[in-house]
Symmetry: C2
Subunit: 460 residues, 2 copies
Amino acid sequence: MSEDWAGSLDLHVDLQSGGGRRAGLERAVREAIRDGRLRPGDRVPSTRALARDLGLARGTVAEAYAQLGAEGYLQARPGAPTRVAGGVALGDGMARGGEAWSGGAQSAFAAPPEPRLSLRPGVPDVGAFPRSAWVAALRRSLQSAPDAALGPGDPRGRPELRAALAAYLGRARGVLADPERIVICAGFTEGLALLCRVLRGTGALAMEDPCFAAHRDIAHAAGLRVAPLAVDAHGAIPEIPQDVAAVNLTPSHQFPLGGTLAPERRSAFVAWAREHGTLVIEDDYDGEFRYDRQPAGALQGLDPERVVYAGTASKTLAPALRLGWLVLPDRLLEPVLAAKLNSTPALEQLALAELLAGGGYDRHVRRMRQRYRRRRDSLLARLGGRRTLGIAAGLHVVVEVDSEAEVLARAATNDLALESLQRYWHRDARFQGLVIGYAAPPEHAFAAALDTLADVLGIT
Amino acid sequence: MSEDWAGSLDLHVDLQSGGGRRAGLERAVREAIRDGRLRPGDRVPSTRALARDLGLARGTVAEAYAQLGAEGYLQARPGAPTRVAGGVALGDGMARGGEAWSGGAQSAFAAPPEPRLSLRPGVPDVGAFPRSAWVAALRRSLQSAPDAALGPGDPRGRPELRAALAAYLGRARGVLADPERIVICAGFTEGLALLCRVLRGTGALAMEDPCFAAHRDIAHAAGLRVAPLAVDAHGAIPEIPQDVAAVNLTPSHQFPLGGTLAPERRSAFVAWAREHGTLVIEDDYDGEFRYDRQPAGALQGLDPERVVYAGTASKTLAPALRLGWLVLPDRLLEPVLAAKLNSTPALEQLALAELLAGGGYDRHVRRMRQRYRRRRDSLLARLGGRRTLGIAAGLHVVVEVDSEAEVLARAATNDLALESLQRYWHRDARFQGLVIGYAAPPEHAFAAALDTLADVLGIT
């Protein structure tokens, strides 16, 4: 009987594989139960019979049964035969065999094939990420980091990075950055989510219209109401509804329309926050990339108690790092940390601190600034007389088009990924346009991307 | 006048420092405004006068004024003198000078001095973190990673890591892990927070009583009601209230009481989930560390459509990595990803994938298993006849004491950090005890920590 049992069940006991004979037997029985060859209530052979059939010591089989019992697969009762436990059964749609278990998830979540070329906004040229310099920075910083850097750590983030950022942000962006008031977070995304959680219940969040749609989603997910803030060529217009508790701005380079916030508006937003006891969130997402002149310093410098400065390494280095930072007014430090249930991974913080302190970050930003400036010039030249919006800054340009839908359709047939303004507007679209991210392609594909764009736009 | 202005204001224009003369002048004026030497409405000297005073070209001063105007510090009107803008003023408590700006935050958030020795639970011996192997794994994986690994990427996490984990978890923990259903998250903390957000509105979350208090806090923060689940020496008791939508369990090693979930209870929880269409969350926080026998395989293997498997590298490698993983039932994949607004940093995922695939992870776990087993033996020996709770597994032991408060007070005076059971209970404490984490100290301090513990407990 027992021989039949093992034979008919195709009980593969691979005694060569890892973990030895006992583990091999356990694996084989588990698999037989999982794929339905053994069913709940089925008797399994006695340890003696199975040991003889498989040429194993009886003790080995007994141990395997005990293990499978402890795991809930088998049920042994004194004086009764061991059976497959009642609790074990697999749901519908379960494929046969361990390896084959994939089912519907693969098809549902397999990314659609990416177009060959992309001019989508929001990402830098990750092909230029300084891989060797990053690994070297991590190695150097790990050599001197204390053991505590590997433990749970300060919820604000590593002190090495907060100190390096305070120096950098003061020097490069005019931020009044005390390391004690910096909180390192998983990109601007987490930073905004934390602020939204803190703001919940105090009023609406005013966001530029148009703005990056995912940021609006974050505010909604936190339960905040979003009030639209009209935008023109000089940035957001400081006409703020009554019930607004905070304003989210992109002062150095409005995303996506590309204006820089006019000086009197900078003052007006700060004055509003001071007068009403409210808050300005300054999303300085590409403050490092200005091509025609020195970038305007951060708004935060005007009043660090009313302006939260938010920066990120997603545009200067790579989105995959998920590294961002908030420079907070004193009164917001405790609430933000209370909302932050999870600290930010520490090793990348050490590497970035080392890169900042050793000058490698500045070198990389300078190199990328030259590259993006060159790309912007090429793009504008290739667009000929087409009207574009935005100052000479950042990683994107807005081009007006007659029909977003038609352009996107033509781009798709030409294997080019483009993004339209559509989702950026809060209310009705004021015009149709594309948000062209000229940083997205790797260097070798940039010319081809421009040629395809020109084709798609009917520029000869 | 202008000479006086610069002189009386102590306008330090450091022409040697970074950014050149113009940047130096801008910095000096900004600082003068910030620390109140220049006030809103104050006239600033004409560009001609200031250029003469400072020995600068007039164009340089004009550019600096234009920059300061763009930043909102100065206000220039055609035909009128340039003045300090009305919007600029610093809040109360602002220290003088850029560098000195720290104020209250430092004192409020400076961590209290850490005790010299620690036997707190929840952390591994981070002194044993394989720093060189980690850097080498990152270097190797970055050499072959596609550029896309540095972009925004798959919200589930890097495919390299999901594939390596699926193989590892199947082999080491008996998990039915399809890479397509794995979601990499920032430690178990984020994994639990995501599940709680998905569960919101469907019913209560039952959690073991006692359990890790921070996990209860996460459920509460997500707006979930928490129902206590009684625990004895054989793990959680499967008596589940009516309105419970999910049960959070630590089957391989109950935290903190240290039992392993009895086989019939494993089946009972799975049967409950199947019968009621509910969910079991399996927190396999230290499934790799069993010292007396092969660890029980994961509960998830009994029914992958009803059990979420949750694992973490926080105990095997380091909490600072913030790397954890969920193996999800098909139907939960989309809702969990919808709740996950932020993807997990990618570079550490690449390094961990390389460490898993190359065998370095297994080697490290084996080495640490030996170390912790030795430490557990030493601890039990040092405790003499004191009654301890828990199987030979994991990184902690519970010791009953007469008075937690007295023991903690004695520990504090002996510079030893200890944790009591107090916050772990949902309801009244059933007894007083310590949760001793024998993994916390670095190797060189372990003996001293044990000696101090023995002193504190009055063991001679």
